[in-house]
Symmetry: C2
Subunit: 517 residues, 2 copies
């Protein structure tokens, strides 16, 4: 940074009210002899003070301008391409800016850039045609919640600073514990997503089950487990080789007998098995491990039983989900992603633990400059059970949508997703040359094109082409993955905006793309 | 969770459009023979589908209702108490809710609860009288940014999914690197706050400077360093005793010679010193360590030089801040909290690193189900340089306020904070019985009441009473801390809403409280 230039005042929407800092001197006069130094050190040429607080009218005008763009955008989501990144790299290059602007620019210019240029050049993760990776959607009510949280900006890291607001977040965590069937005494916190929630699960398990010299501790996942678990272990200090990937069965579920064998072998070798991750819906195929058998094994072996429900956990709101995920409530810790199965915008995950005290043991830390923490176990200081001190008020973005819409709305939307995945599967089965690689266990179906006599490499190339051809139609956007060396296509139905009409269009596009391949 | 009850449909603002899930069957008819199962497994009594997408008119109505409450709230901030938590515990108890609601409730009821009851019972961290802990404020433009991010909900964890939006966040990180004077080749990412940013700094340093068996690695802080560093070390797996707290001098700055001695002694004892944290503004007093000397020492000893600028770093935008923090640009990593010195709402921290490649080495992780990552070093996949995969679009809440207001607005506001701290110091010096414990190095002044002949315990009690008396007037809210066994009072000026008029009121209140003590 160089010396600050004199601020340029340009034509702009936002009124700049010049006000000399030295107005303080006049106030100082009222203090009598105790005049502060004349502040000539501020800068060589005194800068005019530029307030950061818009007037009420300006706030209204700004918000109304954003409202118009946001509502137009959301309303047009069905008409937008499912993904459009053509020219996006060039645009990104043009937007490169090495220095922050000294002077502000008009709000309209900012909104034009965002809504007309930057946002459209993207995977349309908010739209109904997004069936790739793990969709979410982004319910509008969550945007209202963040607007409220940001503008009122209360501090919820410490209970005493905003007791009622913290209570609403505590309620949310209790709701989530109930949804997955954790017992009284359970607790948890809202993270930014599954990765950090998983990391704090590993930290809690490390602290509860391993000595201070923990580097012989081993973790067990299936070969289908999300890489967030290995990444969490790495962040927590475990060598990569301490994470054991156990083979899966024909339904992509971990083979519990092989897991038990590996645990025994590791103990024999002087290692300390301590953490097992079961999947409540894998990212590749939506596979749900046999959670009850894993719970039995973990109980017998005294291991921490973690369940990754980042994608699938909220299907516990449905009868079919509860059947598929029986045993999840026996876990020591569960990760959920409200920005997936609760349709929130990106940025909210949850770690739930069977025994709320483990989080406090891992995270509580006093300091002289902090306010008093609560003794009453009903009153939670979020900073004492999670890695953050200052933090956004994440609770409201879960609480407000659930209060506004009611849980039944989320339940029926999730049920619809299960239905749609079955519907897609039936349709795919009717397409010549299509093999269903994984039937839906939740809302993901995996398939591929097969042609007799083709070598695996050529077949993979054809399937990669197939994804491209489907996505080029821009009505749906799907993604691929690799299973046992084979490139396969996934349809993951999880947006609250995806209904049967869009799915039918997508199936049409798949049919057409198959005909071309 | 029990079996779902039939959803109750109540009178409410939000229209519920009943639509039977079985409309899928009709669509299925068009597929000919490939009709999916009749989905009778969904529930015994079929639930009516409840959409989660409001119509455009409903979105407008919801947003306008929120706008009115938010603008009224922000406009009335100066008239609100600086803190009011009377009856807050009772309110929290009343808000306890063990189960999530099945049916939604009217938006007006939700807004009444939040704005009339829950939000007011709090420390008014958004208001002009908030001088406690580390204030922030929460610029309105950031709330607009989150509204846009949430409602449009694009995915910015992977470059390819939203290249232009990711570029804006990359620009923000580059701006921040420029502000603290890091060279070309530096980089970083936006975290949720200082704690997680600090954690990722420790992880990066651990990976770069220590073997896989890292438990002999030792970290060095001053006794004035924020506990986030010790917590980060603990999360990263280091035993608590590996964090060495070095004594401070009369200005609360680390004693570099004692640090050097301790490093030598630890090496002698077979430990592996690797990480030194310098303070660019401590939480207690705003003390700035001699960063140039620390940089020299770290270079000589080949240690990772981290600077905690969570509170103070953004004063680098001012001439006086740059003088105070000379040497910060020599750091290997710097933590900044835009939700402090850039006046954003809670939820945005930043980790900046001298060599952008270290973050990639610590965090990159491939998976078959992920999209392609970028090779061009100008194009950053945020998931490859940070712990998260799915994440909120934090970049926009920094980018939009800076673009709308221009950097000069932030600079002049920060300069005003420095002025106000000096002004408060002069005024406090004029009050009989007040001792200045720490003159401002940035925007914090620390003081206490002294009375000849009183024992330390009584004096501490008097000073605790003094905080209570000042805060009871509800025009300002200040906090205390402990320095060398003495309870002391802090005034931390950091809100963009705090101007000289409010500070004068606060000084009046301190004078009146002193007269009563």
């Amino acid at each position: 940074m160089q010396e600050e230039p004199a601020p340029e005042v340009e034509d702009q929407d936002l009124t700049i009210v010049p006000c000399n800092l030295r107005c303080i001197e006049a106030a100082a006069g009222r203090l009598g002899a105790n005049v502060p130094p004349p502040m000539s050190s501020t800068s060589q040429a005194p800068s005019a003070f530029i307030p950061l607080e818009p007037s009420a009218d300006e706030m209204r005008a700004l918000l109304d301008a954003v409202r118009d763009r946001v509502v137009a955008h959301v309303s047009s989501l069905p008409a937008q391409p499912a993904a459009d990144v053509e020219g996006a790299a060039d645009l990104a290059r043009k937007l490169f800016e090495a220095e922050p602007p000294e002077a502000g620019i008009p709000a309209a210019e900012i909104l034009d850039l965002l809504f007309d240029r930057a946002i459209p050049k993207s995977f349309n993760t908010a739209g109904p045609g997004y069936l790739a990776y793990i969709p979410g959607g982004g319910v509008f009510a969550a945007a209202l919640a963040d607007l409220i949280s940001d503008a009122t900006n209360r501090y919820v890291g410490v209970w005493q600073a905003a007791p009622a607001l913290v209570q609403l977040e505590t309620n949310v965590v209790r709701w989530l514990c109930g949804i997955v069937g954790l017992p009284a005494g359970s607790g948890g916190y809202l993270a930014t997503g599954g990765s950090l929630a998983t990391f704090t699960a590993v930290v809690a398990a490390r602290r509860e089950r391993l000595p201070a010299d923990f580097l012989k501790g081993t973790l067990y996942v299936s070969g289908q487990t999300h890489h967030a678990v290995a990444k969490a272990a790495s962040l927590a200090g475990f060598p990569a080789e301490n994470v054991r990937a156990i083979p899966w069965d024909e339904r992509f579920r971990v083979q519990v007998d092989l897991l038990a064998e590996r645990i025994a072998a590791d103990r024999e070798a002087g290692l300390t098995p301590f953490f097992v991750c079961g999947n409540a819906g894998t990212t590749n195929t939506g596979a749900v491990d046999d959670l009850d058998s894993l719970a039995d094994l973990c109980a017998k072996e005294r291991l921490w039983f973690h369940v990754d429900g980042a994608y699938g956990g909220f299907f516990m709101l449905t009868r079919r989900g509860r059947q598929a995920m029986a045993g999840i409530g026996r876990a020591d810790s569960v990760v959920l992603d409200p920005h997936k199965g609760l349709f929130l915008p990106y940025g909210t995950g949850a770690l739930l633990v069977r025994d709320a005290a483990v989080l406090r043991r891992a995270h509580a830390a006093g300091a002289d400059y902090l306010p008093h923490m609560q003794e009453d176990p009903g009153f939670v200081d979020i900073c004492e059970i999670s890695p953050e001190l200052s933090r956004a008020y994440r609770g409201l973005r879960v609480w407000l949508p659930v209060k506004l819409h009611g849980l039944a709305a989320f339940r029926t939307n999730l049920d619809e997703k299960l239905d749609l995945a079955l519907y897609a599967t039936q349709a795919l089965k009717s397409m010549p040359g299509v093999e269903i690689v994984a039937e839906p266990q939740l809302s993901i179906v995996v398939f591929r094109l097969v042609r007799p006599g083709l070598d695996p490499e050529t077949l993979n190339r054809l399937n990669r082409d197939l994804v491209e051809r489907v996505n080029a139609r821009q009505r749906i956007h799907i993604s691929g993955t690799v299973l046992g060396g084979a490139f396969v296509l996934r349809i993951c139905v999880l947006s609250f905006r995806t209904h049967v009409e869009r799915l039918e269009q997508g199936l049409e596009d798949i049919r057409a793309a198959l005909a071309e391949t």
